[in-house]
Each structure stands twice: as C-alpha cells, then as structure tokens.
Symmetry: C2
Subunit: 206 residues, 2 copies
C-alpha cells in the first residue's frame, strides 16, 4: 500500500517523542488518516496490535519496515544532474530511509568527474556496468522531458525494474517495470486551480 511510508514516518516521530505504545486513533491522527482505515491497513500485514492496549510503536515500526523492504539497503542510480538531480543527490531523506545513491549519471561530458554529495558524476553509458556491479533495481530520472523516454528504455534494458520519474512525460515501459511519477509543477498548478476557483466563486457571488 502507498500509505505504509506515511505510517512508518508517523511511528518514527512517535518513537522519537518517547511513546512506547499508541492506539490506532493516535497513530491515525499523526498520519492524517481515518483510524478504521489505518487498522484495516495494518491488519492486512498481520495482527501486530493488542486489543485494549494498542500497538507497540517500535515493534510495529519494525514490522512495517520489514514489509516495505526498508530494512535492507537499496542502491539507487540518479540520471540527470541538473538542479533537480543535484538536490536529489544531496537529499538526506533518501539515505536515512535506506536508499544509497551509488551513481550519478549525466549525458553532458562537461559534468563528468564533478563530485556531488560525495559521488562522482559519470557518463550515462556506464549505466549497464553500474547496475550489474551494485545490483541496482531502482533508477531515478531527473533529466529534461525530451531525454526521459530514452533513459527509461536503457534503464529497463540494463535490468532496472523500478523507475522514479521527475521528468514531465508519460513513460512507456514494458510490463514488470514499475514507474512512479512526480511532477513538481503539477502540484502547484492544482493549487492555482483551487485559487482560481475560489476567486471565481467570490466574483460570481458579488
């Protein structure tokens, strides 16, 4: 489920606050969801709670982390070291959640050799070798839209089976490859849409 990371984060926050046991109500409030939904999600993983008591924070945290594969280290490749790729390489949230950036790749040979966040930028052609060497399963695309599809194809060809795409394009990949898309400006546009609606509503109301 897509909400597991949210629960995990909420549990970590609770744990750091010194909470040992929490009810589904508490955790649901911290995660921003309905408590029934939370209980159903958790029951899908197994019965890790105790009726009349609640959930052991650390125990549940470990169970969710295990289910999500967050107990192991995931090597990750980032392709495209522009502004976004730079920020992603430096983003501490990846490392703290078990993701290790093993390589930064860029097609522009003027960037090769440059060190970003302790990792050297290498040519895009090294992709296959890096994937094989580190057993990389997850790739991040932070290139311009025009290059994204080609990068994705070569990633799949090299053996990568999960892609996180920041380029504003729809990627066509074969079955068995998971693609997740994040579009930074889309979110802003949705907000602008709501603002527009609000403004329009006020206008017509007057």
């Amino acid at each position: 489920m897509a909400r597991l990371p949210v629960y995990l984060r909420a549990l970590t926050t609770l744990s750091e606050a010194g909470t040992a046991v929490c009810s589904s109500e508490d955790l649901a409030a911290a995660a921003g969801v309905n408590s029934a939904k939370l209980r159903k999600d958790l029951s899908y993983l197994g019965s890790y709670g105790t009726r009349g008591v609640g959930y052991d924070v650390d125990y549940l945290r470990y169970q969710i982390a295990r289910e999500m594969g967050a107990t192991r280290d995931w090597p990750v490749v980032i392709v495209g070291i522009g502004n976004l790729g730079h920020a992603l390489a430096n983003y501490s949230g990846f490392r703290s959640r078990g993701f290790r950036v093993v390589a930064l790749l860029d097609a522009d040979d003027r960037r090769h050799g440059e060190t970003v966040a302790g990792v050297v930028v290498r040519p895009f052609d090294d992709l296959r070798a890096i994937v094989r060497e580190h057993g990389v399963a997850i790739g991040v695309i932070a290139t311009p839209a025009a290059a994204a599809q080609d990068v994705a194809d070569q990633m799949v060809d090299a053996g990568i089976s999960s892609i996180l795409n920041f380029a504003p394009t729809v990627l066509n990949v074969g079955p068995g490859v998971a693609v997740s898309k994040v579009d930074l400006s889309k979110e802003l546009q949705v907000l602008a849409y709501h603002e527009q609606r609000k403004a329009h509503a006020q206008e017509t109301a007057s």
Copy 2:
C-alpha cells in the same frame, strides 16, 4: 480536477509537434489515460470539441489554461533554502507555467542576502510584508519537518491560502486553506515496497 495539468502538458506537446486538431483518443494516449475519462473531464469544463472532428489543440489548450488559472501570473514564496529550496528556486518548470518566485525566505540569517536564481534570500519575518506587497496566495514549504507547522501557521496568518508542502509532516491548517504534499522519499519507498514484493514472490515460488 488533478488531471488538467497533464492534459495541458500533453496539448502543449501536440501543439509543438504541429498538430492542429486531435481526437480524444490521441490526447488520451499522449496523457496516458482512458479516452472516455478524458472526454468526461473535458465535458465538465464545457463543450469545446466538435463531434466527428475532435478538439482544436490550441483552443482547448487556452480553455484549460484559463480554467486552471494558468493564464495569469501567480506570485509564489519559497520558505527554506536548503538543497530542495535551492532546486525549487532554480526549477524552470515553475516560471514556464506562470509561477513567479517573488521571494525566498529562510530562518538562518547566515543565508540572508545570498542570491539564488536571481532572487535575494530574506529573513522569514518579512513574510507578511511580502505577501501583502505582491498579493501572494501560494506558499512553498521546503524546510525541515520540525519547522514546517510553524511556517504553515505564519503563512496562513499572513494571508496565504494555498500551501505546497515538501516537508515530511502532516500540516494542520484551518478550513479554506489548501495543502498539497509532496514527499520525495515516499515515492521511492513505494517502489522499494514493490521490489520487495517481487523478490518475496520469487522466493516463495521456488
């Protein structure tokens, strides 16, 4: 609707490719959705297509842009100039979609005066004055999680009614304020979850 930006982007791509008229099938394929869904979404805005012909690309593009409020300029404030804030300030996708970064704010006074993407970093306390001066309705939070709620409160207090939150926290805001959340590592975690499932499935199959 949240899919409007996707349609707009697909239309822009089609327009740049020289397409003057397109069917719902074409546009749906470009946007990566079902054609019936697309037609239903568009019909919600009005009847901008011609039966037997399709949609005029530029006309539809303008109509969607107008509906979304993308025809006007939206002033935006970014709070928190770390790695992420830096990348966001430099991100060209904002400017090209009608968003203008009018101010960069940070609580750390060592950053004040620094210029990022042509905009000077200013103290967080200037928020209220900036919002009033530029008529800012949209704020972006790129601070650490611990500071996010406080920043959000002050944003709302200053008159901002839409917040894009990159900090990994659930924000509590009053009614009438729209919050959109982007969690970069959450997406990676979802992908890792699927990888984990795949690996586990293979294991049990053997």
